[in-house]
């Protein structure tokens, strides 16, 4: 147990201090994206992993957050960060609208409904001119003040994202130990059994979805802050949703650290396949994504977390 604590401390120092040593902008950029991806995947994990309600439309919350930030700037001249709460509120509303009708049903109805809802929103947005229609929205070209949170270096974003990730991890860890977490895992284990023990299934799923949607929207807002641009595809595109699912599933859905591990593997992988095959435009990256998903579902449904557990059990058996 002691050794593990030490490991965490060392890891923590590394995560906090490396930008002081390594100055490459590319690496810093990838690191910021990695943390951001870890936030969205951890947020997805609350309802998709712990609760087993597989949303393939979480981009609707991500997009809501991103649009909230940049619409506040474009339409009201606010600093984008002031629009993030608007995006979160919109995401919560969407969560209720999509969750309530489908949560009475079995799992895959929810998956289908989320796909339909996100597509619906994407098409709607492409036709709403105050939200930039299909062109999208831009942030301030040049920071008007510190409040615009517009920096040239990725490092400030990196630390901002880290802080949010830490908050999310604390929330998730608390949830894991509380009644909500137990109820979610019970629902994933079987709704009939859960209900017979007094678990209010719809309410539990809805609360989880709202927490999840809120944090996903926050991730979207942060993305918009850093990138300063959002359009229907980068906000509500199918691949945005898919990325959250695959990152969580790769690391281990329904575990605290799984999404972080998944992001640490997948984001660098994505950047390098993009570099190798010449940009994300070729589709090669997503073939890799798809293949990873298929292989995980076929051979390792618990993700890397399951692998680690299997290996440690084996090691213990050998030791004994």
């Amino acid at each position: 147990m002691k050794k593990r604590h030490l490991l965490f401390v060392v890891l923590g120092i590394l995560v906090l201090a490396w930008p002081l040593v390594l100055h490459g902008v590319f690496i810093q950029h990838v690191a910021a994206l990695l943390v951001l991806a870890a936030i969205s995947a951890s947020a997805w994990n609350i309802v998709g992993g712990y609760g087993g309600q597989v949303s393939i439309g979480h981009a609707m919350f991500f997009g809501a957050g991103a649009y909230g930030a940049l619409a506040a700037y474009t339409d009201f001249g606010w600093p984008p960060v002031a629009g993030v709460p608007l995006g979160i509120i919109a995401a919560l509303l969407i969560a209720v609208l999509v969750g309530l009708p489908t949560f009475r049903l079995q799992g895959h109805y929810f998956s289908m409904a989320t796909i339909a809802a996100v597509e619906l929103l994407r098409i709607l947005l492409s036709n709403v001119s105050v939200l930039g229609a299909s062109v999208g929205l831009m942030g301030p070209a040049r920071p008007r003040g510190l409040a615009d949170l517009s920096f040239r270096s990725p490092v400030p974003y990196y630390y901002l994202f880290l802080a949010v990730l830490a908050l999310l991890l604390v929330v998730t860890a608390w949830m894991e130990r509380s009644r909500l977490g137990f109820y979610l895992r019970a629902i994933r284990g079987g709704e009939r059994g859960a209900r017979s023990l007094g678990v209010p299934v719809v309410r539990t799923k809805l609360i989880a979805l709202m927490i999840s949607a809120g944090f996903t929207a926050l991730a979207g807002g942060l993305y918009a802050l850093m990138v300063g641009f959002i359009d229907p595809e980068s906000g509500f595109g199918l691949l945005i949703s898919v990325k959250m699912v695959i990152i969580a599933a790769l690391g281990g859905a329904g575990t605290l650290w799984g999404p972080l591990v998944g992001a640490a593997i997948l984001i660098p992988l994505e950047e390098s396949t993009n570099a190798l095959f010449g940009g994300s435009g070729t589709g090669a990256t997503y073939v890799v994504y798809g293949a990873i998903i298929v292989l995980i579902s076929r051979f390792l449904p618990g993700g890397i977390a399951e692998l680690v557990q299997l290996l440690s059990v084996k090691a213990r058996r050998r030791a004994a």
């Binding site: 009644r179 137990f182 109820y183 009939r192 059994g193 209900r195 017979s196 023990l197």
Partner: protein
């Protein structure tokens, strides 16, 4: 009167799985529910526990009409049940399974855990508390279901063949467990095919056939009843046990 079910009907398509079943129960009783395979006992249980909505009839539990209430409402009112085919949360630890039940009356994790550990001790599962429920065999799962149900602190517990498939020693242990549960003030309805279990546990036996009650009374008297023998034998000759 703790439970009063009147004229319960449950249709599957056109098939009347439960067909006008009545049952009433006093606090503190152990009632044995028996009947040939396919008589509708489990379906009747599912109606009582809110897992299926009866097509007709009325269920009053502890002064509340629960005929159309959800299973979670039944649990809140104090009616718990086990399943003939166990439905444990396989990926969760045994203790965590029980904690899900305990959270119903103890919203704080610490209190729920204390309750769960107490129930695990009582049901003899303490040694397996940290193992995943999926690693238990059928007997362990049935026991875990009892523990989980007990953790909701029910006043009525429905056991659907919780003692099926046990050998003589195991059966004796299980009988003692049921007696222990009863001693804690829980009223019980037990479905069993093994008559010796009914004879040693139940104060009253109710016989089901073709979806309704054909006989009720003291267990010894009931199993000597002509109609009951007829129902069982008739079944046995028509459909040999596979």
């Amino acid at each position: 009167m703790l439970l009063e079910a009147q004229g319960i009907v449950k249709l599957f398509g056109g098939f009347r799985a439960v067909d006008g079943a009545d049952l009433s129960l006093n606090r503190g009783e152990i009632v044995g529910l028996i009947g040939p395979n396919g008589a509708g006992k489990s379906t009747f249980f599912n109606c009582l526990a809110g897992d299926l909505r009866p097509n007709a009839g009325r269920i009053v539990f502890d002064g509340h009409d629960l005929t159309l209430a959800t299973p979670e409402a039944h649990a809140r009112r104090g009616l718990a049940r086990t399943w003939q085919v166990p439905v444990v949360f396989a990926e969760m630890a045994v203790r965590d399974n029980v904690m899900v039940g305990a959270f119903l009356r103890h919203p704080q994790a610490r209190a729920a855990r204390r309750k769960a550990d107490e129930v695990l001790e009582f049901t003899g599962l303490a040694a397996q508390a940290d193992a995943p429920a999926g690693s238990l065999g059928t007997l362990g799962r049935k026991r875990l279901e009892i523990a989980r149900a007990l953790a909701t602190e029910p006043s009525l517990l429905l056991l659907d063949e919780a003692l099926a498939g046990l050998n003589a020693t195991e059966t004796q242990v299980a009988i003692d467990l049921v007696r222990g549960i009863h001693a804690r003030g829980v009223t019980l309805i037990i479905v069993e095919h093994v008559m010796s279990v009914i004879l040693s546990l139940a104060q009253r036996a109710v016989v089901f056939n073709q979806g309704h009650v054909i006989a009720a009374g003291a267990p010894q008297a009931v199993i000597e009843d002509e109609a009951v023998i007829e129902a069982y034998l008739g079944k046995r000759f028509r459909r040999p046990v596979p």
